[in-house]
């Protein structure tokens, strides 16, 4: 399988504390890659380094075969980032929000209009395109957040806990859309604390703790690490067995 993203010895330290420790990841084109880990495991820092928001102390991120930091201008348009927070403007209408973020990738005019309609259609917000984002429910804002990140047709989509705080219908809708995106060729990196979501959509899962990948594989492969009877064990039990039950937010 062709590699779309590769981290080589990725390392980040804060105040002598190693948050990401020589991380080596390889994500193939067309994969839905799930990244799990308890709070403070280093997932967000890893994501931020992949997205070029944080500079690694050591190591590189190779995106589509090139050093991402050195080829940022060329490669930025091939990445779509759906942050955990709702990075949208309440005082803009739905279509204006999509226009704002899609246009950042040099798309304009009739093509931009087409992309806006397509993105809003994709997340089921076409009917509400002229409404202000501040009038939307939590689930609708989440969907708009996604629409803002897909208008430029990225090859790699990074979802950082996109289903936090929304109802089951909205969550199901988002997961369906991630599957659809993947079927139409996009590679997906997905982080979440909801194990059942990760198990449902990810083709490969990595569990991260203390800045390192402690296990990776398919859901079945991870379960086998803990028990031979993979039907009687959940991914959450695997996760707790591997990372421990001690609270991390203390």
């Amino acid at each position: 399988m062709e590699t779309i993203l590769k981290t080589v010895d990725l390392t980040k330290k804060y105040d002598n504390r190693t948050v990401v420790d020589n991380l080596n990841l390889e994500i193939g084109k067309g994969e839905v890659f799930g990244l799990l880990g308890p709070n403070g495991a280093g997932k967000s820092t890893t994501m931020n380094m992949i997205c070029n928001l944080i500079k690694p102390d050591f190591g590189t991120v190779e995106f589509m075969g090139k050093d991402f930091r050195k080829n940022k201008k060329e490669l930025s348009g091939k990445l779509g980032y759906i942050p955990q927070h709702l990075a949208i403007h309440g005082n803009l209408k739905a279509w204006e929000n999509v226009e704002l973020f899609t246009s950042l990738y040099g798309i304009k005019g009739a093509e931009l209009k087409e992309r806006i309609n397509e993105s809003l259609e994709y997340v089921g917000l076409s009917e509400r395109k002229n409404d202000y984002a501040k009038t939307f429910s939590g689930g609708m804002k989440r969907r708009l957040n996604i629409a803002c990140a897909i208008g430029h047709h990225p090859d790699l989509l990074i979802f950082d806990e996109p289903t936090v705080g929304i109802d089951p219908q909205s969550r199901n809708f988002i997961l369906e859309k991630i599957r659809e995106s993947n079927k139409s060729g996009a590679t997906v990196i997905y982080t979440s604390h909801y194990m059942e979501e990760v198990e449902a959509i990810c083709t490969r899962i990595a569990i991260m703790d203390n800045g390192k990948i402690i296990a990776s594989g398919t859901s079945e492969e991870l379960k086998k690490l803990v028990s031979d009877d993979t039907n009687s064990i959940t991914l959450e039990e695997v996760f707790l067995t591997l990372t421990g039950k001690k609270l991390r937010d203390m």
Partner: protein
């Protein structure tokens, strides 16, 4: 690439009811209130010119050594003092057509004014109170009093003065207009999305500066039209005045955005900007008219607001001003320097993250 970002940022600013209230209604209401409150002050000043004044002094007065200094200052300001016998103030004014009279007691003075010469009385009162204050603090021989006599017709009145000055003042507070946008950006971490898209620090800065300048300029333009239509404010040379206002809005926006980059907090940026602009306005004629102000000219000249205020007021009243060049150049330098610092700070923050 950033055209749509600029357009949408402008929409966010211009759709804010608070911004419209501050930048359109605010200057109109404050101008109207202050113009009304200080109209008498400006009216009395309107007819100021050279005039004769009388004085008398008691034999045992402690003020005798200062009289010559006072006469000298009077002459410098077009007030010519003549000595008369003590106790003859009222008849001297009447018989010798004096603009006013000062009666020096042992350690005090009394100013006599008439209804026929209100302006002269006000000028005399101003000279005496400034002189006496300096004398008490022991600086009488170093005192530098200037009663300015703008050679304009018609003279500036309080409506024109405050109608113009508060457009300038609100213009310098431009950063407030970006509060909603920048707070929302910060709260929802929108700059991260902008950074991921590959925008440079300079592009992000421009995407804030251009809509901020446009929104404030448009709002204040509407306020200025309201001021003209509702209050009757005269702007003199409209093209030049518009350029001066635009220059100061660009400078104020760059200054505010620089403070925002420095502090990383909208509240802190607005607080610092407000405090500095208030102090500059205090010296530069926003609250106390710079015409009446006794502050040193050198201090006033340091304030960019003073240059904008004076150029616009003189354009309104005289149709020309020696301050036009500095009212354009001073904000130009501020805008350039603040932009460099703002972009530089954003870039450094981005690289060390």
């Amino acid at each position: 690439m950033i055209g749509y970002l600029i357009k949408n940022n402008f929409k966010i600013m211009f759709r804010s009811g608070v911004n419209l209230l501050i930048y359109i209604i605010g200057p109109v209401i404050i101008s109207a209130v202050l113009a009304s409150a200080f109209s008498a002050l400006f009216e009395s000043y309107e007819a100021a010119g050279d005039f004769k004044a009388g004085y008398s002094i008691e034999e045992d007065s402690e003020l005798i050594p200062y009289v010559d200094i006072l006469k000298e200052i009077g002459e410098e300001n077009g007030v010519y003092f003549t000595e008369y016998e003590p106790g003859t103030a009222e008849e001297s004014i009447r018989d010798h057509d004096l603009g006013g009279f000062v009666e020096f007691g042992r350690d005090s003075y009394t100013v006599y004014k008439t209804d026929d010469a209100k302006t002269e009385g006000t000028v005399l009162n101003y000279i005496m109170s400034t002189f006496f204050t300096a004398m008490i603090s022991g600086n009488a021989d170093e005192i530098d009093i200037h009663v300015e006599h703008p050679d304009h017709a018609p003279a500036i009145d309080s409506t024109d003065y405050y109608g113009i000055i508060y457009i300038v003042y609100f213009g310098w507070l431009a950063i407030v207009c970006a509060a909603g946008l920048l707070s929302n950006e910060l709260k929802h971490r929108i700059p991260e999305r902008l950074n991921i898209s590959g925008l440079s620090s300079f592009q992000i800065y421009l995407s804030r500066l251009v809509p901020l300048v446009s929104a404030v300029a448009l709002s204040l333009g509407i306020a200025a039209v309201f001021n003209s239509l509702l209050l009757g404010v005269h702007w003199g040379n409209i093209l030049l005045s518009s350029l001066i206002v635009l220059a100061l809005i660009i400078a104020a926006s760059a200054f505010g955005l620089m403070l925002y980059e420095f502090t990383g907090s909208m509240v802190a940026a607005i607080f610092i900007a407000f405090a500095l602009i208030w102090a500059m306005g205090f010296i530069g004629g926003t609250f106390e008219s710079y015409i009446m102000s006794s502050l040193p000219e050198s201090l006033k000249n340091l304030m960019p607001l003073y240059h904008s205020n004076r150029a616009l007021v003189e354009l309104s009243s005289m149709g020309k001003s020696d301050y036009v060049v500095s009212a354009l150049a001073y904000p130009g330098v501020i805008a350039a320097v603040c932009s460099v610092f703002a972009v530089g700070t954003a870039e450094i923050k981005r690289r060390v993250r």
